[in-house]
């Protein structure tokens, strides 16, 4: 009796997860093991063609580019987010500052990316400032390369890194910093040796919240990237809409999913060891 009503309560969630997560994932897995249809779609015949196609050096190079862009943008994001989160957590006006962090979300993502195009464009804001200051003689082409992608990715990821970092720094006991200073640590040593290890959960969350979406990014390289910044997301889109190799698109999507899941495993493992270290505080 109790079991049945329990099942009843969880039914909506179960339906939700099944319809929007399990079924699509199953379709992706299934498609990746089928033959491609002539004009897109699939033919229901088992095949490993898609996985063989993954070994294509072009795709491997794109995967490597994608990894590099995701990694560099993640490092940049976390390095910027750490001091920002620290400052907010120590500030007396933290509510206002947090709101300011969140406000850009009220604007559509694409519009924010277009705003960056307006800043970085050849006739853009940045170029006109540099020109008027005489730092450069003629406009620099900031857009349509890897660095433009990385800058915009850092911008879009910052709030996702700042918020978890803020949450863990907020909980951090700053008398530990004083204790470290008292025992002979410089300001820097106290932060590196004492604060960083104790806010590890926040740092890992910030890394995952940045790396995972950036690894699967499609729109930003599409809009501000160039030849050198073609990412897996763009290849998937091309295979779905232009080249029309759906099994290959599915196989690549699956790879991204596996990497994401791997990240989550690392995350929970990191949290578990942390729990053993500092948990059960009185």
């Amino acid at each position: 009796m109790r079991n049945r009503s329990g099942g009843l309560y969880t039914a909506p969630v179960t339906v939700w997860i099944t319809v929007f997560f399990v079924v699509p994932l199953a379709i992706v897995v299934l498609y990746s093991f089928l033959e491609k249809g002539l004009y897109g779609g699939v033919r229901y015949r088992f095949s490993l063609d898609a996985y063989r196609a993954l070994a294509n050096p072009l795709i491997i190079r794109v995967a490597w580019t994608t990894f590099r862009i995701a990694l560099v943008s993640t490092i940049g994001t976390v390095l910027l987010a750490l001091p920002a989160a620290y400052y907010i957590a120590r500030s007396s006006r933290r509510t206002m500052l947090l709101v300011l962090i969140i406000v850009p979300f009220w604007t559509n993502f694409l519009i924010r990316v277009y705003a960056w195009m307006a800043i970085l464009g050849t006739n853009g804001f940045l170029n006109s400032i540099l020109l008027s200051l005489g730092i450069i003689g003629e406009p620099v082409r900031f857009l349509y390369n890897q660095w433009a992608v990385i800058v915009v990715l850092i911008y879009t990821s910052l709030p996702f890194a700042i918020l978890p970092l803020y949450a863990s720094i907020e909980k951090f006991d700053f008398t530990l910093i004083e204790a470290a200073r008292d025992l002979g640590a410089s300001r820097f040593a106290a932060i590196v040796r004492i604060m960083i290890p104790n806010i590890r959960a926040g740092i890992v969350t910030a890394i995952l919240f940045t790396f995972i979406p950036n690894f699967g990014e499609y729109a930003v390289p599409q809009l501000v990237g160039g030849r050198d910044s073609f990412m897996i997301g763009n290849v998937i889109a091309r295979e779905l809409t232009v080249t029309r190799n759906w099994p290959l698109a599915a196989a690549m999507a699956l790879i991204i999913t596996v990497i994401t899941a791997g990240g989550m495993v690392v995350y929970s493992a990191a949290n578990r060891t942390r729990g053993r270290g500092s948990g059960r505080r009185v």
């Binding site: 530990l176 025992l183 500092s278 948990g279 505080r281 009185v282």
Partner: protein
């Protein structure tokens, strides 16, 4: 045998405004002190002085003011802690003890005044370069490091070799008696053990001064007593200057060489524990340290050392003062409960200048080694008198609730103190 450190020390170490008060008191009670000195030899506190193993530094605080916004946390604090001394800052919560400690450690800067360690101005030196270490009230152990690594932390910062580190850490683990706990994480040990780790960690750099901010306040009473004795032992063996903050007068009195009593940001009195107790500088100190009977009293007449007062609730009383109060002034008369004798029979052959009053036992609290009597006088005032049960058979007939009794004390045991203290 007794080196009378307190006589030399007292007048120097005072809040300026109280210099006169304290000095007067010291003079006033000079004769009483002579008696006390006879009683005092062999105190554990004085033994340490003769060990000659003093590695610590002298800390001199001079005219320090510190305000947080409008709020004055410290007002004109001056005191000198001697080399190797176990010095306590005693006062109620919020009186500025932690603030003073943080100034010495380098986490706060005074608005005015100076802090010197062995005659060197330390205010420009950042906390990590001061030879001062702190045992924090909240322990402040690093949760991600084991007991061993917590204690080793200061050595690791200095990049010492593994062998030296292990050897040093182990000797300090020995000192604070933490055998077998080295591999555990801070979350896996008890409060008392955490405090030992904090003490070892603070001592391993061999600081000149160790600051302890209510290190025992989070522990239960029995453990507190035990750790206090251990702290005293550790102090004896390392010879470092200890500045110990507490709001618990029992703690301060039992281990300190000298105590500074603070209230509302000021130092009211500095002296050896028995001075603080036996010769309180003002009403606040008298009330804060131990139990006492204290009443406003008007000085009626003065004959040499003997003053006659009209005390509220007691009526006319006599009290000895070397420096007599001004006739007609209102002062406070105070008498400690354990100095009052109590009996059902009127005592005979009393010494001259004994105050004797009659009353009814309003309440009696029996606590094994002593009984506390609350005796209601005809005026309605309830006076406290504590009777020690040292000689079971000599105590005379058992005194019960509602018994009419006599209470008496010698003029030498009463004190005159200035009203209030700290809050003007």
């Amino acid at each position: 045998m007794y080196q009378t450190p307190a006589i030399a020390g007292s007048p120097v170490l005072t809040v300026r405004k109280n210099v006169l008060t304290v000095r007067r008191n010291v003079l006033t009670h000079q004769r009483k002190r002579d008696i006390l000195v006879d009683v005092a030899p062999g105190r554990p506190n004085t033994r340490r002085r003769q060990s000659g193993k003093l590695k610590g530094s002298e800390v001199r605080i001079d005219g320090v003011d510190k305000a947080f916004g409008e709020f004055p946390a410290l007002i004109d604090v001056s005191l000198t802690v001697k080399k190797g001394e176990f010095f306590s800052l005693l006062g109620p919560s919020g009186c500025g003890k932690t603030t003073l400690l943080r100034i010495i450690a380098g986490f706060e800067t005074p608005d005015v005044g100076s802090v010197l360690i062995d005659d060197v101005d330390i205010l420009p030196i950042p906390p990590n370069r001061r030879h001062v270490n702190t045992v924090f009230q909240s322990y402040a152990l690093f949760p991600h490091l084991s007991v061993f690594e917590n204690i080793a932390f200061p050595l690791r910062l200095r990049g010492l070799g593994e062998k030296v580190v292990t050897q040093r850490v182990e000797s300090y683990i020995e000192l604070v008696r933490l055998h077998g706990q080295a591999r555990k994480m801070p979350s896996q040990i008890s409060g008392g053990q955490k405090q030992r780790v904090a003490i070892a960690r603070a001592l391993i750099n061999e600081p000149d001064v160790l600051l302890l901010d209510e290190p025992l306040s989070a522990l239960d009473a029995k453990l507190r007593q035990q750790l206090l004795i251990e702290l005293d032992t550790i102090h004896d063996s390392v010879g470092v200057t200890f500045i110990y903050v507490t709001h618990d007068q029992q703690e301060a009195l039992s281990v300190s060489d000298r105590v500074a009593v603070m209230n509302l940001g000021r130092v009211l009195q500095i002296g050896a524990p028995f001075e603080i107790y036996e010769q309180p500088a003002d009403e606040f100190v008298a009330n804060f340290i131990g139990d006492t009977n204290i009443q406003p009293a008007v000085v009626t007449s003065v004959e040499g050392e003997l003053s006659r007062l009209d005390a509220e609730g007691l009526g006319p009383v006599v009290v000895t003062c070397d420096v007599p109060p001004e006739p007609g002034h209102t002062v406070r008369h105070t008498i400690r409960p354990e100095k009052i004798r109590i009996s059902k029979k009127r005592p005979e052959g009393l010494a001259p200048n004994t105050n004797i009053l009659q009353g009814l036992v309003d309440e009696r609290i029996y606590s094994g080694f002593q009984s506390k009597f609350f005796v209601e006088l005809p005026s309605g005032y309830v006076i406290k008198a504590f009777q020690q049960h040292a000689r079971f058979l000599d105590d005379g007939p058992e005194i019960e609730w509602k018994d009419p009794v006599w209470v008496w004390w010698n003029a030498n045991d009463g004190y005159v103190v200035t009203p209030r203290g700290g809050d003007e």
